[in-house]
């Protein structure tokens, strides 16, 4: 595989003296490939021909340092199809560029980007599945979210949702079957299996205890989140849905992804006080999500409901009850509004804030306890140290983000690198670990819990002393929001699992014409076969646990 040259730091084209991107230089780099320049709200985009995708992306990756293909969005217009490749850099995520590839209505196709970015594999399969664009040169272009026998492409314009569909159940064959090769055995893990964290199906070929190949089969929880959002209005109706993407109580982090994209699209300034509440709530969610990750990870390794799982659940109960006080719900918060949050902290404030403080005070000892229970355990060490290796250059190729990337030593955290909320003004660190194995991912998560606690602590003292007359929880936002027609934006936040991005295209109405979710779990999961092939079956399960996927977000 080609390595990613950004790390080798040769002369990178397209950066002006003050460190920002110089799009004229980039345009010059691509030369005749650029047909046109578009302005998206987040960054400019170049329109190219369908047959020059590979060339353009290779140039941008090798010469201009765009080593992160964060998302591929496909959509159908009245007169054409379009794929958009959203590029950015791991070293400086604020450097963004869109590559727009229009293709004709009667024959939607463009060259595949798989040979340039491995992550394009799954993203293009999804685009083919839902919108119906054919990617030429794609190694394995089949449906990914919907079953193979599905008729039609549901996000294309002429799709008729009332037509009957037929789904097969081929797994009724003996799940253990002989494969063509001698000495190997095919086995289905999931979609109902205690170690798959929900409804994931792994098609695995084993040679004795060793994994010869593993192919994750997803889509068992594809709830049409994008279609849902495209049928709802910006102002109030979309906000409840993000809670249900990553439902490990990470709701506020997801709501923020939508809020950030929509607010930037129509230029809403969020009051400082609301930003602090948002930051505090979001970090509480992160703690809650990481506790679930740690608890279920222990469940995977030890195979039973042991103390660690129960401790994690106990601590989650505390956070959930704090969040319930704040938002009114234990999991599905629906607390953010465009321009702020829905209501102020609950009264009596002091009591609420001291409840959080009391929880924070226990965190260092709690982390210590988790650490001792797990890291000093020999079984745990044998299973986790040096297994499920994901080297950083492979991780970049797959568009990996979040704790998984940071466990491979990639120092990438949008809270710091593409700041939003109140993070800039607070004192905290990005936790990384160079181990690249299962163990280091676990350590990163524990470290992040500590950092989140640090952030929340600072938010509490700010909130305590905030003068009463300045407690503005919402900006002045009109009742109906209609962004200008054909405005396009891609914006991401650092959710519990990594870069959670939203692409919105407006058509001048109250509802988005295209709403695309870039889910961190989706990209992270695509590395599984890279990590597990050649290893033992139990290591496969541990590797899967260390990815900390939530199927609601993988399948959307």
């Amino acid at each position: 595989m080609s390595s990613t040259p950004a790390s080798s730091q040769k002369n990178i084209v397209g950066i002006s003296k003050n460190g920002t991107l110089d799009y004229t230089k980039l345009e010059k780099l691509l030369g005749p490939l650029v047909l046109q320049k578009e302005d998206h709200v987040n960054a400019p985009a170049f329109v190219i021909r369908p047959d020059s995708v590979e060339e353009a992306l290779t140039l941008l990756r090798d010469e201009a340092g765009f080593d992160h293909l964060s998302c591929v969005t496909a959509q159908e217009y009245e007169d054409r199809f379009e794929s958009i490749y959203h590029l950015r850099k791991y070293d400086s995520p604020q450097h963004e560029l869109g590559i727009v590839v229009p293709s004709p209505k009667n024959n939607p196709w463009n060259q595949s980007a798989c040979s340039v970015f491995r992550t394009a594999d799954w993203h293009e399969r999804e685009a083919y599945d839902l919108v119906g664009i054919n990617y030429e040169g794609h190694p394995d272009l089949r449906r990914i979210l919907l079953p193979d026998t599905w008729q039609g492409h549901p996000l294309s314009l002429d799709y008729d949702q009332n037509k009957p569909q037929l789904i097969t159940l081929q797994e009724h064959e003996n799940p253990l079957r002989d494969t063509d090769e001698e000495n190997t055995m095919f086995i289905n893990i999931g979609p109902h299996h205690p170690a798959t964290h929900g409804v994931l199906h792994l098609k695995t070929v084993l040679d004795g205890e060793h994994v010869v190949s593993v192919d994750p089969d997803i889509g068992y929880l594809h709830r049409c989140e994008e279609q849902m959002a495209q049928g709802l209005n910006y102002r109030y109706q979309i906000m409840p849905y993000p809670d249900r993407w990553d439902y490990a109580s990470a709701g506020l982090l997801n709501e923020w992804a939508y809020a950030r994209a929509a607010e930037d699209l129509v230029n809403i300034e969020v009051p400082e006080y609301a930003e602090i509440i948002r930051t505090m709530g979001a970090e509480l969610c992160r703690i809650c999500a990481h506790f679930l990750a740690v608890g279920t990870f222990a469940l995977d390794i030890y195979g039973d409901f042991t103390a660690i799982f129960m401790y994690a659940m106990r601590d989650r109960e505390i956070v959930q009850s704090i969040l319930e006080d704040l938002t009114g719900q234990r999991m599905m918060f629906n607390y953010f509004r465009l321009g702020g949050v829905v209501w102020d902290l609950p009264e009596p404030r002091d009591e609420f804030l001291s409840k959080i403080q009391k929880f924070l005070d226990k965190i260092p000892a709690g982390i210590q306890e988790y650490s001792e229970l797990m890291t000093t355990n020999e079984i745990f060490q044998l299973r986790c140290v040096g297994t499920g290796i994901l080297p950083p250059d492979v991780a970049r190729q797959y568009g990996v983000t979040g704790p998984v990337a940071r466990g491979s030593g990639i120092d990438y955290d949008l809270r710091r690198d593409d700041p939003y909320g109140y993070y800039e003004n607070l004192d905290w660190n990005v936790v990384t670990n160079d181990g690249c194995d299962i163990y280091s991912r676990f350590l990163v998560r524990l470290g992040e819990v500590e950092q989140s606690a640090k952030i929340i602590g600072q938010c509490i003292s700010l909130l305590e002393s905030w003068p009463e007359e300045d407690r503005i929880i919402q900006a002045n936002v009109p009742r109906t929001i209609k962004p200008p027609a054909d405005a396009e934006i891609y914006r991401a936040v650092e959710a519990a699992k990594g870069e959670l991005g939203i692409y919105i295209r407006s058509d001048g109405t109250q509802q988005p014409a295209r709403f695309k979710i870039r889910s961190p779990c989706f990209s992270n999961l695509s590395t599984l076969s890279e990590m597990a092939t050649g290893g033992l079956v139990p290591d496969l399960i541990a590797a899967l646990g260390s990815l900390d996927i939530v199927l609601g977000e993988v399948d959307r």
Partner: protein
């Protein structure tokens, strides 16, 4: 006659000195069934997180004699369906249910299992678990609180103990052999992809509630 004092319990006291009770065998079996439900460790979507909380500390479902999650459907009497069912998963869920031994019970958890919930309009979403499995108890909510789920299960236990059983299935989607289906445009299109003997589930979306 003296009994070993270690065997003394509240129940024993209630029966008085006689070691015999007189009851109908059926009522006895109902009482046994209801008092010790094994449930399937089965997660689908967001509701399963609250279900885990129901099993774990604080809510501790086992207090009511119904909290031992079994990983294999062959050991379970109760399946809680915690979340949205989509077209690709429904046949698999039906298969898991079929593997459970009789008598078996179904609790639908959350609005998704009632009607598709927030995803009711989705092109890929089955409009409620009743289209696939017979349901004994529905617990509404999005997600229901652990207390609500505990209440639902305790209600189910009460019904089992009282010998009441009336699960509901509405217009079920069944697993059928592909070869047995009536001809239809869709069937002809798929004929070369699917073998005669393959099991399939056919969704007539326009008839969905």
């Amino acid at each position: 006659m003296t009994t070993d004092p270690r065997l003394n319990s509240k129940l024993r006291e209630a029966f008085g000195s006689s070691p015999f009770i007189l009851t109908k065998f059926d009522s006895f079996m109902d009482w046994v069934r209801g008092s010790s439900l094994f449930l399937l460790q089965f997660g689908i979507a967001c509701c399963s997180i609250e279900m885990m909380h129901t099993f774990a500390v604080k809510h501790d479902l086992d207090r009511f004699g119904a909290g031992v999650p079994r990983a294999s459907p062959r050991q379970a009497d109760l399946i809680i369906v915690p979340g949205t069912i989509v077209s690709k998963f429904a046949p698999r869920m039906r298969r898991v249910y079929d593997q459970m031994p009789e008598p078996k019970f179904v609790v639908g958890m959350g609005s998704c299992t009632i009607s598709g919930g927030p995803f009711h309009k989705g092109y890929n979403v089955v409009k409620g678990v009743e289209e696939i499995l017979p349901v004994d108890i529905h617990v509404p909510g999005c997600p229901p609180r652990p207390e609500a789920l505990v209440y639902g299960i305790v209600k189910l236990q009460e019904r089992i103990i009282n010998g009441q059983r009336s699960p509901v299935t509405v217009d079920p989607y069944e697993l059928e052999k592909f070869g047995d289906l009536d001809t239809h445009e869709l069937i002809e299109q798929l004929a070369d992809q699917i073998a005669e003997n393959d099991l399939v589930m056919r969704y007539n979306w326009s008839d969905s509630p």
